[in-house]
């Protein structure tokens, strides 16, 4: 091939606009951090926010010139755009909900915002990856930045523990993934998703199924780690509990959404032809994830840890949609991840505000009397919890409804029944928080809480509004998800 073919066209750059914007803004923030004075620091948060907004605009522009770019390395379709915008919005909410926290912990520095942008850039790469190598690169960019974020308060022991665990286990997982990529390349001669699919579809060239299954299994291990699916979920509670609250909110939504995006794309596009082989494994993992998450959450007394287990359980629900491996299954997973992001970030934002300096108050019992003393915040947290339970007119309900509809559509009756019963079990531990807030005598921890900062207020109200809008008018997001869910063209 002539060299000219390898020179990217203008459209290629446009398709990559969000990633470019994020990287440039991130680097600029790093630079300003070094040269700017102490007084400039709050401005860096604004700059990061502006960068994210610009990247959202960039995603829309990129969709306008949709298609594959950079020699088929990236693909910009509705699916990629959906996840790009989702992780960018998650980033915005994280930034507004972390300002008060960073001030409080005296850790307001540019690195935080830069790392956040880099992590999100990695997730955008994952969302638009059309190539196993790109998947790996995106995953690494996203992970390395979030390893650092998890241990951002470097004098805090729990932060360090969290970061170290996340780093060690995450590296193992990525190694598995990479090993799987190598196997796929060895068996099919390509790392391009569509090409892998084509090879698997052609009977003459199809590789040995046992070897191919091993390759898929290795990649599944990697993805399962990243989405905290059983039996690879053990890291999540320790990491989410130890990390700074806004970072936990981010890690349990952004990287998870992106990991599900590549999970769906790889398994439905590339491994679609052997779906009947991997389906039982994902089926088992989905059930185990839901059960482990929900039943472990029942006995938790730490709110962050409880939300961590609940986040495992919610990954289980999304795995149900993956198991369905149909277009409505994909659309359901997309919708669910969006709805889940808002309720999870909202709940964590309340925890961020409530825990106060040094995260002193993170026990369930500390919430006693919040309903009386801070009715507005308590009402918002109630909305998030009801959505996590799956009560109608919230995004969480419609998401679950849509996932189980997809599962039944693919004749996964038992998976649906077990999943729905699980969501009834889950109601118990979410209700416990509501019970403590409204029905227990006010305790010491709810006395003299400072006001909710403007940023947190935006995060909490915005998430609550989004949760309700997704529950009452799901079509706004669902129609787009439905149109973009056709991964195999």
């Amino acid at each position: 091939m002539p060299l000219a073919n390898f020179i990217p066209t203008a459209d290629d750059y446009l398709r990559y606009l969000p990633e470019i914007i994020l990287t440039v803004v991130g680097v600029v923030i790093m630079f300003l951090e070094a040269v700017g004075g102490e007084r400039r620091k709050p401005a860096l948060g604004w700059l990061a926010g502006a960068g994210l907004l610009a990247a959202i605009w960039g995603s829309v522009v990129a969709l306008g010139v949709g298609g594959t770019g950079f020699q088929n390395m990236v693909i910009v379709d509705g699916f990629a755009t959906f996840f790009r915008i989702l992780v960018l919005v998650i980033g915005l909410l994280t930034i507004v909900s972390s300002t008060q926290y960073l001030d409080r912990e005296k850790a307001n520095a540019g690195e935080f915002h830069a790392l956040l942008l880099f992590s999100i850039a990695g997730q955008c790469v994952m969302a638009s990856a059309n190539e196993l190598i790109m998947v790996f690169i995106g995953l690494e960019i996203s992970s390395i930045a979030s390893y650092i974020l998890a241990g951002y308060l470097r004098d805090d022991r729990r932060n360090n523990e969290s970061a170290l665990k996340y780093f060690l286990l995450g590296s193992f997982a990525t190694a598995f993934l990479l090993y799987g990529v190598a196997w796929v390349y060895g068996l099919t001669g390509s790392t391009n998703l569509a090409e892998v699919r084509r090879v698997l579809m052609t009977p003459e060239s199809a590789p040995n199924l046992v070897l191919m299954g091993t390759a898929a299994a290795l990649m599944f291990v990697g993805f399962a780690f990243k989405v905290s699916a059983a039996p690879f979920q053990v890291w999540a509670p320790d990491v989410y509990q130890g990390a700074p609250a806004p970072v936990s909110a981010f890690m349990s939504t952004g990287p998870k959404a992106a990991a599900f995006a590549v999970f769906l794309r790889v398994f439905i596009t590339a491994f679609g032809p052997i779906a009947t082989r991997w389906e039982p494994f994902v089926w088992g993992s989905a059930i185990a994830t839901m059960i482990v998450g929900n039943f472990a959450a029942l006995t938790q007394t730490n709110i962050k840890r409880l939300l961590a287990y609940s986040s495992i359980a919610h990954a289980g629900y999304v795995l149900v949609a993956v198991t369905a491996h149909s277009e409505i299954g994909t659309a359901a997973a997309m919708f669910y991840l969006a709805a889940y992001a808002f309720m999870q970030i909202g709940a964590f934002a309340v925890v961020t505000w409530f825990s106060r300096q040094g995260e002193k108050f993170v026990n369930v019992d500390d919430l006693a009397g919040l309903g009386e003393r801070q009715p507005m915040v308590a009402a918002m947290l109630t909305i998030f919890l009801l959505s996590l339970i799956g009560v109608p007119l919230t995004g969480g309900f419609f998401g679950k409804f849509y996932i189980f509809r997809a599962a039944l559509d693919s004749n996964l009756v038992w998976l649906t029944v077990i999943g729905l019963l699980n969501s009834a079990v889950a109601a118990y531990y979410y209700l416990r928080l509501i019970v403590v807030m409204y029905m227990k005598e006010p305790g010491a921890a709810t006395e003299n809480i400072g006001p909710v900062s403007a940023g947190l207020r935006v995060a909490i109200l915005g998430s609550a509004l989004a949760t309700l809008v997704l529950g009452i008018f799901p079509s706004l997001v669902l129609d787009f998800a439905g149109r973009s869910a056709a991964l195999v063209k």
């Binding site: 039944l408 029944v417 019970v435």
Partner: protein, 521 residues
């Protein structure tokens, strides 16, 4: 936008409006809540219009607009004779509940009344939703305010009761949700009227196993709500711990959601399964009637006694429904309303006694008649209504149910009638221990007679007890018109199954024999 939509959404608007009332103004919240609920009641009376002189065959006041595009979910609501009275019962009881809570609720007043209005919104929605998804949405919405009403304003073990209530109902309803989705995937619609006509005309034919499993998924959700023995264990806890208004709404309207669901959805959608299961369902209903009565008899706590009497009374409703006779069904629906009025009244009276003595134990009363003659009289009328004295409302309902059951299987009637006798025993025994005897000094001192406000709350119920007991013809025609239709629909399925393809010949012939047998008799 029809009158019905107004009745549905006014409570929601009221709920939102109440949230805007400042926290420091409890009086304003009370007045606003009462005003709104009275307006809703008056507006809802307009729904009687089409039913005044004639009985429309289809749904009246129906609205059918798209809500969610994929999957197709529509806001489809409509009114018929089955839902008409239940809605009026809801809109009548809400202001009554606000009146009886006027003084009792002193803490977080605004939220309390707001939740009552939200509950009203959910309840009305449940009775008029004709889209399965919409029905489920309203069904679940009712859980939230009731959970808070019990959990925040209830008695000592309120948290346990509230969580138990929520989880029980949730566990039942998730299976119903699965069944609804399954029906959607098979039929391509959530619209009840469409699915029902598809099943009737045979365009959607479900296999025998599918019918049974889907029926059970719906049935268990409804049976928990009714509650049918042995799924009733949440009810005594919820009733005893709830504040008076919560108990009233729970007993009078929320339990009817389950009965309503059985009639509206279970029978027309799964006629074959419903008929073939009717044997053991009726056995459970009769067990509930007798068991509830026996347990009520030994209760030392008045509220618990009334709660177990509900288990017993609701057994009659289920027996009436699953007798598959015109009288039985009419009686069941009538009994739903009767129970709403008389048991609601009983809970209110028990609430009045509680507010005076701060105790629900029967033994802390005695001799109430001397200091409070009016209260005793009102309590007596309510008690007699609940027992089923002729010329009072419960008599009509129970009689119709027993008559309907007798035409199918006389032994059912015999056993169920034992429940009627037992109800007289436990109610009168309680009345005697509470009202008669010698009043202690302390009790006489703390037992003022009914106040004007308390009279105002009970008077509409007393009028209805007599009216519904003496002139049942003012209420029955819309009910009969609708139950006849549902009975017809639940028969069509049997014919269809026998004639087209028959996976379970043994069961169907049993049903047929029963039919011809009853006809011969």
């Amino acid at each position: 936008m029809s009158l019905l939509d107004l009745v549905i959404f006014l409570p929601l608007i009221g709920f939102l409006a109440l949230l805007l009332v400042p926290r420091g103004a409890p009086g304003m919240s009370r007045t606003a809540a009462l005003g709104i609920s009275l307006v809703i009641f008056l507006v809802s009376l307009g729904l009687l219009g089409p039913y005044w002189f004639a009985q429309p065959t289809g749904y009246t006041f129906s609205t059918d607009i798209p809500w969610i595009s994929t999957p197709t979910i529509r806001y489809h609501v409509g009114l018929d004779g089955l839902s008409l009275w239940l809605i009026l019962l809801t809109t009548l009881l809400t202001p009554i509940c606000i009146v009886i809570s006027w003084k009792y609720i002193q803490n977080r007043v605004k939220e309390y009344f707001a939740f009552l209005l939200l509950l009203e919104f959910g309840l009305i929605g449940v009775f008029v939703a004709l889209d399965l998804f919409l029905f489920y949405v309203f069904w679940e919405i009712t859980l939230v305010p009731m959970y808070f009403l019990i959990g925040i304003w209830g008695h000592d073990r309120r948290i346990y009761a509230a969580v138990k209530f929520f989880l029980y109902t949730m566990a039942g309803s998730v299976l119903m949700l699965a069944a609804m989705i399954y029906l959607y995937n098979r039929s391509g619609s959530f619209d009840f009227t469409i699915i029902q006509s598809m099943i009737q005309t045979g365009r959607l034919s479900l296999s025998w196993e599918e019918q049974i499993l889907l029926f059970l998924a719906f049935f268990i959700a409804f049976a928990i709500k009714v509650p049918l023995f042995p799924l009733h264990t949440w009810l005594p806890d919820a009733h005893v711990e709830a504040p008076t208004a919560g108990s009233v709404m729970l007993a009078s309207v929320m339990l009817k959601m389950g009965c309503y669901g059985l009639i509206r959805f279970c029978l027309p959608l799964f006629p074959n399964a419903a008929r073939s299961c009717s044997g053991w369902i009726n056995a459970l209903a009769i067990t509930g009637i007798i068991y509830g009565a026996l347990v009520a008899m030994v209760q030392p706590n008045m509220k618990k006694l009334v709660a177990y009497s509900s288990v017993s009374h609701l057994g009659f409703v289920v027996l009436g429904i699953f007798s598959f006779t015109q009288q039985g069904m009419d009686g069941a629906v009538y009994q739903m309303l009767n129970h709403g009025i008389s048991t609601g009244g009983l809970f209110i009276m028990v609430g009045y006694l509680y507010e005076r003595r701060h105790s629900l134990e029967i033994k802390s009363f005695g001799g109430v008649a001397t200091p409070a003659p009016n209260l005793s009289t009102v309590f007596l009328i309510t008690t007699l209504a609940s027992i089923g004295l002729p010329l009072l409302n419960n008599f009509i309902g129970e009689f119709l149910v027993l008559q309907g059951a007798a035409t199918v299987n006389f032994s059912w009637t015999v056993f169920a009638a034992i429940g009627v006798i037992l109800s007289a025993v436990y109610m009168l025994w309680m009345y005697q221990r509470v009202i008669y005897g010698r009043a202690t000094e302390d009790l006489a001192h703390h037992m003022p007679d009914l106040s004007g406000r308390e009279w105002a709350a009970m008077l509409p119920l007393l009028v209805l007890m007599v009216w519904m007991g003496s002139f049942s013809q003012s209420f029955l025609p819309p009910i009969s018109a609708q139950t006849a239709k549902i009975l017809e629909q639940s028969k069509v399925g049997v014919d269809f199954r026998v004639s087209v393809k028959n996976p379970a010949p043994v069961l169907s012939s049993a049903v047929e024999n029963k039919e011809t047998g009853s006809a011969a008799r």
